[in-house]
Amino acid sequence: MNVLMFSLTGLCTLFTIGSLLFILGYLVTHGASALNWDFFSKLPVPVGEIGGGMANAIVGSAKVLVLATLIGVPIGFLGGVYLNEYAEAATAFVIRYATDLLNGVPSIVIGIVVYALVVRPMGHFSTVAGGVALGIMMIPISVRSTEEFLHAVPNSLREAAIALGASKWKTIASVVVPAAITGIVTGTMLDLARVAGETAPLLFTALGNQFWSPGWNHPSSTLPVMIFTYAVAPYDDWHRQAWAAGFVLLMFILAINITARFILSRASYAPRGMV
């Protein structure tokens, strides 16, 4: 009985791990073989024609992610500092609840709200709107990781700094935050990796663009949206490009994930239970 049930659980684990390995393996073989230099350097060609690439999508994704980081990380970081260092219990509960709520909002709903708040007043879709949508999605994870890593810094450091005469903000800025910085940076990296793959919020904020998107006020194509558009289309060459894009996106995300977790495993102050 023991052996039977435990081998069943082992089978379950095998299946779970197997699915991951299968996903990775298939994307690597199928996607990598579909990749060519054109993919990184050319614009998409008209529908139905063979060839072309996703250069504009890669740049578009980069722009949107940079904007998202600039919006999401400062708000998240400072909010986390407030929660851990300044807030009293009641305020902290409210803010934490709001953050958890924001974390649980489906990404498509965030897309709708940013459409109503940014796209409609502006009158057109834009990279800015896409950046705002992804930035909003980055905030909760940034808050939570900042708060946890600040919490993990032992109080003795704070007390030592104050005993030496430092003011509270000086303590936070020069002692506590640097002690937690490894964790906060890796948290940001993981955050970025999560948001890099989000498609739904970009569908009606950055929309899409067949050409280069100049500046920040024009619709822009992004890698995840291109994958979606190309995958559901009936053209074989588009399918090939979707696989290539999927491969590039997944490699990017996994590289960030693995690097961040590796750095985290060596962080000096890590909260218990963190990988």
Partner: protein, 327 residues
């Protein structure tokens, strides 16, 4: 200017209150406090704004349809008749199927990783499983369309129909895209959440519980199944709710494999639609206030449901770890 009491006026330095503010040398202190407070307040503001915008922007359809919106099953943009029922049905069915597959699978893996595997092996396998959670939804959709759907069509569904074809849920033609395919893809997506949280909760069960049970003569499996798992049940249920909330809001993978047909069918093999999928597909092409408002109202429904379920999930996980949860 407020009037001070004589005591206060005597205590103020020459120059009054403004001078004492600067003299205290607390400028940096107050600015830091204000900046961080502003950031925290922004978070609160954004969350409230989301709810507010969803509510306000859906006013047209809310006023026109009222609560009937939730129970009508027509979705006719041309005639202006909108009802949420097919989408609610599709969302619930796919999420339920996903949970049905992912819970035994995930719990089994969690038990293996928590009880059987040596710590190092367990840690590295969990790391791999958490990488599964990092794979974006659109890539699951990509794999779903090109690998899972043909596989189901060629190998799985014929067998299912042979064996279980008498059941109404497995009747009708199978075109590949269906509730069934969406449910299977969703189950792979939510499994890592169930595994990782359940594993943590199982590991957190105190050793004495296991030792007491073994000491009374129970076998290892009996200990695991009758002592450890029930002890951790609240946390496991919390992970299930978290997974459910994720499954309900999942957009891209579902859109790509569900078939995008607003209908209600008993058969799992029929194509269907989900709330997130219809918003993703039709929002940019929606013409007219009522159409867009109906889509936004669907978003509101989804938001409220995930809000409730997430709240329940947090409560359960907190209850399970005795308030020390780091999730």
């Amino acid at each position: 200017m407020a009037t001070y009491t004589t005591a206060e006026t005597r205590a103020l330095p020459p120059g009054g209150r403004a001078r004492s503010f600067l003299r205290r040398g607390q400028v940096g202190e107050d600015i830091a406090y204000l900046i961080t407070l502003a950031a925290a307040a922004t978070i609160f503001l954004i969350t409230s704004l989301i709810f507010y915008e969803l509510y306000v922007q859906s006013v047209i359809s809310r006023q026109k349809f009222g609560f009937h919106f939730l129970f009508t099953s027509t979705w006719d943009p041309v005639a202006g008749n909108f009802g949420a029922l097919p989408f609610i049905y599709g969302t619930v069915v796919t999420a339920a199927l996903a949970l049905l597959i992912a819970i035994p699978q995930g719990l089994g893996s969690a038990i293996f990783l928590a009880e059987l595997a040596p710590r190092k092996v367990s840690d590295s396998l969990t790391f791999l499983i958490e990488l599964l959670a990092a794979v974006p939804s659109v890539i699951y959709g990509l794999l779903g369309i090109f690998i899972l759907v043909p596989f189901l069509q060629a190998d799985v569904v014929p067998v299912l129909k042979d064996v279980f074809g008498f059941l109404p849920i497995f009747q009708g033609a199978f075109y590949g895209v269906s509730y069934f395919s969406a449910g299977v893809v969703l189950s792979v997506m939510i499994m890592p959440f169930i595994v990782s949280v359940s594993r943590e909760v199982l590991i957190a069960v105190p050793r004495d519980q296991r030792e007491a049970s073994l000491g009374l003569g129970a076998s290892r499996w009996q200990t695991t199944w009758h002592v450890v798992v029930p002890y951790a049940m609240k946390g496991i249920m919390g992970s299930v709710f978290l997974a459910l909330a994720r499954a309900l809001g999942e957009t891209m993978a579902v859109t790509m494999v569900i078939g995008n047909t607003p209908q209600i069918k008993a058969s799992l093999l029929a194509p269907g639609y989900s709330i997130a999928a219809v918003i993703a597909n039709e929002f940019t092409e929606a013409v007219g206030g009522l159409y867009i408002s109906s889509l936004i109202e669907l978003g509101l429904v989804l938001f409220v449901v995930t809000f409730i379920i997430n709240g329940l999930a947090r409560l359960m996980i907190i209850a399970a770890s005795g308030g020390g949860a780091n999730t």
